[in-house]
């Protein structure tokens, strides 16, 4: 039985810990602190928490102003409001200005579920990836989320990270995360027949798929590519050399996110491998239970298995 942990609680809890370590860490939220769990920080450090109301554009630019005075602002809201809605503010005030602002979005992807397509952000990785200076992260489980939040606070520069709404199964131990580095992917499962490269919530699905594939004697390597930008090209190209096919899976549009980043590297380095990008196929999804949505839109473990077999 998988142990599920709410990564939003992990985020809020980690902020509280970091608040002690970094007196200059501040947090901003746009009327969603109960959902993003920044409320945990707000309770502990009310002076360093700024409730910005339902005014996300203002929140992003305000965070940049705080950063210009040496603060480390963590800005949180749902991924859909944290990126697309405020793209110009991020572009000018954070990316172009190279501001030390950390945008930490929750409710990324379609596992938002019943709120429907309006709230299911499937373009954020693409939007953030195209911005110069921006680091783009999608942690997969609670312990990785904790480590990523710690690294974000410790590393200077603009960063975007997204987690999902739903609780995520634990993949790692504390020990596993000790040496986690931004920009260095993790080999979660070794295998030589093909490589499955996943990020965020899809890492667990990829691992499930690899177990199913093993039963059919297909050895899938699984990579947790928690950093979409800068992409760990070294690890990727190693996988391209050592396995005959590659597959990417992300809770995001197949356009512009992890799959695109991988495809760009493979093509530029001359790897004409068998390759499939899995994700939301250039469409909006709909209301429904996350599991039903994953089933309908092709993101379940058995979809990965089918895709993997088609590559072998």
């Amino acid at each position: 039985m998988k142990q599920l942990v709410n990564t939003r609680n992990t985020y809020g809890g980690t902020l509280v810990e970091l608040g002690k370590k970094y007196p200059n860490l501040v947090v901003l939220d746009a009327d969603l602190s109960k959902s993003t769990k920044t409320i945990l920080f707000a309770k502990q450090y009310p002076d360093r928490f700024f409730e910005m109301g339902i005014a996300e554009a203002n929140m992003i630019s305000t965070a940049a102003g705080l950063a210009s005075c040496g603060k480390i602002p963590f800005v949180s809201t749902f991924a859909v409001f944290a990126t697309g809605r405020v793209y110009d503010q991020i572009r000018m005030d954070i990316s172009y200005s190279n501001a030390n602002v950390k945008i930490f979005a929750t409710h990324g992807g379609i596992s938002v579920g019943k709120d429907g397509a309006s709230h299911q952000m499937i373009e954020d990785l693409a939007l953030m990836r195209v911005l110069p200076n921006m680091t783009v992260l999608a942690p997969s489980d609670a312990l990785q989320t904790k480590k990523i939040v710690e690294l974000m606070a410790a590393t200077v520069g603009p960063m975007y990270a997204r987690i999902g709404r739903a609780s995520a199964p634990l993949i790692y131990s504390k020990e596993d995360m000790k040496n986690l580095k931004i920009g260095k992917g993790i080999v979660c499962q070794d295998g030589d027949d093909l490589t499955i490269i996943a990020c965020g919530t899809m890492v667990d699905y990829a691992l499930d798929a690899s177990k199913l594939l093993k039963k059919e004697n297909i050895q899938a390597r699984v990579i947790d590519m928690h950093t979409i930008k800068p992409l760990d090209a070294k690890l990727l190209l190693k996988c391209a050399q050592e396995t005959n096919a590659l597959l990417t899976i992300e809770e995001h549009s197949i356009i512009g996110g992890l799959g695109s980043a991988v495809a760009e590297q493979l093509a530029e380095h001359g790897y004409a491998k068998k390759f499939i990008r899995m994700g939301v196929k250039d469409t909006f999804c709909e209301s429904g239970d996350p599991q039903d949505l994953f089933e309908k839109y092709g993101l379940s473990a058995h979809h990965i298995v089918e895709a993997a077999k088609s590559l072998i």
């Binding site: 002076d47 630019s61 102003g65 110009d88 200005s97």
Partner: protein, 285 residues
């Protein structure tokens, strides 16, 4: 109330003429840029940088400095000229406005131009940024004051009103806005493009202390800035009633000079007018 002696006013007025000459020269050389809104903003910028603000060009990142944010980034030539005359960088940089491989970008960028606090040019962001700076000042119990200049057309942007609400909600009395009310934006008169009046009522109703002054009168500008420093529990908006293209007869209130630089004849005429004004002021001194 502080009284400002004639000598100070005269000195600042002379600097303002010099800045206007730089602007015309820069835009003529670049053959690109925004004369109208640069010229209307000059006098307030001169009052801030050459008298009112506590700042240190030798240490542009001094944590205790007063901050100025140019939200209407297209008036960059005015700020660049003021920064150069304040010795943030060499005057000769002004000759290379908007040139490739040179420092002075078409719009301000904070990562490498000394004295620029925020990268602007996309309208509507600067007041929010200034709020962040003011919030940090409150948090750290710093004595610095934050100034932000907005274009009047710029206040069409919804983000300005998000920021206006925030500044008043957080009682940012360490923040002073300057609204360059020149009544013109690219497509015409502000009241015809998207009505702004009553500007006074709008800012008042958002919880701001509002002052309305002649934005080209040095004494009025200094007095208003001083008053805004002493305002408690609320931010102040100084509505600078200005003339777009101020100082050049054929550019004044002429919307065609929003984003079009002078040609050679216009350049000579403009410099002639400014030289005349400069000589007149010098003779008075």
């Amino acid at each position: 109330m502080t009284l400002y002696n004639d000598e100070l006013i005269h000195k600042l007025e002379l600097i303002a003429v010099k800045i206007r000459k730089h602007i015309i020269d820069m835009l003529f050389r670049a053959q690109s840029g925004h004369p109208g809104g640069s010229l209307s903003a000059v006098d307030a910028l001169v009052a801030l940088y050459f008298h009112h603000m506590q700042h240190n060009p030798k240490n542009p990142k001094d944590p205790n400095r007063d901050r100025f944010i140019l939200s209407k980034g297209h008036a960059a030539p005015a700020q660049y000229a003021v920064l150069a005359e304040s010795n943030y960088f060499q005057l000769k940089e002004l000759k290379n406005l908007r040139e490739i491989n040179c420092m002075l970008q078409g719009h301000p960028v904070c990562t490498y131009i000394p004295g620029i606090e925020a990268s602007t040019g996309s309208l509507g962001h600067g007041l929010s940024f200034a709020n962040g700076v003011a919030l940090a000042g409150k948090l750290d119990d710093k004595k610095y004051h934050v100034y932000v200049m907005l274009g009047d057309g710029e206040t069409n942007e919804g983000q300005i009103w998000e920021a206006a609400a925030t500044a008043s909600h957080y009682r940012l009395d360490n923040l002073t806005g300057l609204l360059d009310r020149n009544f013109l934006q690219i497509d015409g008169n502000t009241e015809e493009v998207l009505r702004l009046e009553s500007v006074y009522d709008r800012w008042s109703s958002f919880g701001w202390h509002v002052l309305e002054i002649n934005g080209h009168d040095m004494r009025q500008i200094l007095t208003a800035l001083e008053e805004s420093m002493h305002q408690k529990n609320q931010p102040t908006m100084i509505v600078l009633n200005t003339v777009k293209g101020k100082g050049i007869s054929f550019m004044e209130n002429n919307v065609d000079f929003h984003g079009v630089p002078p040609n050679e004849i216009e350049y000579k005429l403009a410099m002639g007018e400014l030289n005349l004004l400069q000589r007149k002021l010098e003779a008075e001194g």
